[in-house]
Symmetry: C2
Subunit: 263 residues, 2 copies
Amino acid sequence: MRILITNDDGIYAKGIEVLYHILAPEHDVYVVAPETEQSAVGHAITFLDPLRVKEVKRNGVFFGYAVNGTPADCVKLAIRELMRPLPDMVISGINHGANVGENVIYSGTVSAATEAAMLGFPSMAVSIDAYPAKDYSGPIAFLPKIIKLVENKNFPRGVSLNINFPHCPAEEIRGIKITRQGHLKYAETYDRRIDPRNRVYYWLCSQTAEYDSDEDTDSHAIQEKYIAITPIHYDLTHYPSLELLRKWFGEENRSCVKSAIGK
Amino acid sequence: MRILITNDDGIYAKGIEVLYHILAPEHDVYVVAPETEQSAVGHAITFLDPLRVKEVKRNGVFFGYAVNGTPADCVKLAIRELMRPLPDMVISGINHGANVGENVIYSGTVSAATEAAMLGFPSMAVSIDAYPAKDYSGPIAFLPKIIKLVENKNFPRGVSLNINFPHCPAEEIRGIKITRQGHLKYAETYDRRIDPRNRVYYWLCSQTAEYDSDEDTDSHAIQEKYIAITPIHYDLTHYPSLELLRKWFGEENRSCVKSAIGK
């Protein structure tokens, strides 16, 4: 396959180098990644500023293109402009730190895969549950097999795969679980400090206090040393609430909606 | 109610001033908003840099707090640190430009409401379908009524309201529609230019080419001069694909999952 790879830790991160070496033996790999770390940028895109592209070498060899933007920018710019022929698949990662539970919504790694899905390409985000990660033997052993299993499948339109690896030696990994996005409990505070010029500033301090105990969730699976694969999409509609809102606004009876707002 | 208001166009934008004046007569309003425009930042949060807070006056009167961060940062910092007692509701907007269809995923305005929902507060994002907006008579006439209709309701956990107004005089608004996030067709390109130092740069050019024709969608509703209200949440799981993925990875038979990846 022809694979576009990107990440959110930046083109000089260890994770994207590992991903490159996992994929390059069997695939035609094209790297377009952020010039600098873009963690927690969510699905940001850049349109108030111009984007620039730089060729990057690693170990003296051409590695890919660095963009002064976000992971979603990298995917959009690669597909709309830089990469011809177009990719068969887009893979983002390998991210330092799991993208499970509520973290998914903040994740630049995931947003790159989502952007690819929005543009109509099969895609996946790959993360490992450690910050920083030291042992990549899990992804090295199993990611090629996962890719082989999905490479000829028809991805449902707009759906991408959010793949999270436990951080343990490959031989300890117990298998794959198909999961849903779970919940995390955070211990989250702001550390209030005073700078040398006597001005206040705040650092966000956030730690996962508790993983989800539900067996079908992403965070539970990686805790149990399974690879978690969650199908994700970009439709934020909460369908179960549609009926409730229709009641709140009296939409069963169209004239009510108008009278509710005085029309 | 005690209402936290924020936006993504920045604390000096017209939309947040209009929102303030709509709410202030009946509610206790507290403003924490980005210092600068944060359009299309998605659900970015800041933790690689510290946040600073500045008091801002508008027309010589204290208006609120400006934060050198994103809309999600503003909500998180207000709730975790700045605002006591805590709000009864969080409202983000009024955004210049509709946040409908695929735009929702890029929207800083929406991410502020989503962040509030993640933290357990009833919330809504409010946008108007014009850039820039000139006529706010729709929100001025109907937003107080919408707030009255939802203020004592139990918001389902994690759900917020994405509210989009058509850009027309209030008397032309036909009512409210409860909608789902639809699809937009974009004409999206990068404009490749050469700077005075002979280096290439790219501007993202994006225009909505076609709104959704499905009657139950957000974008269709505002085209038809209805106020679109979509319940949104932050669980990106695509539930209909869980079964499909279980088949791809042979998870019906647990041993298959292991053998599929060679375990």
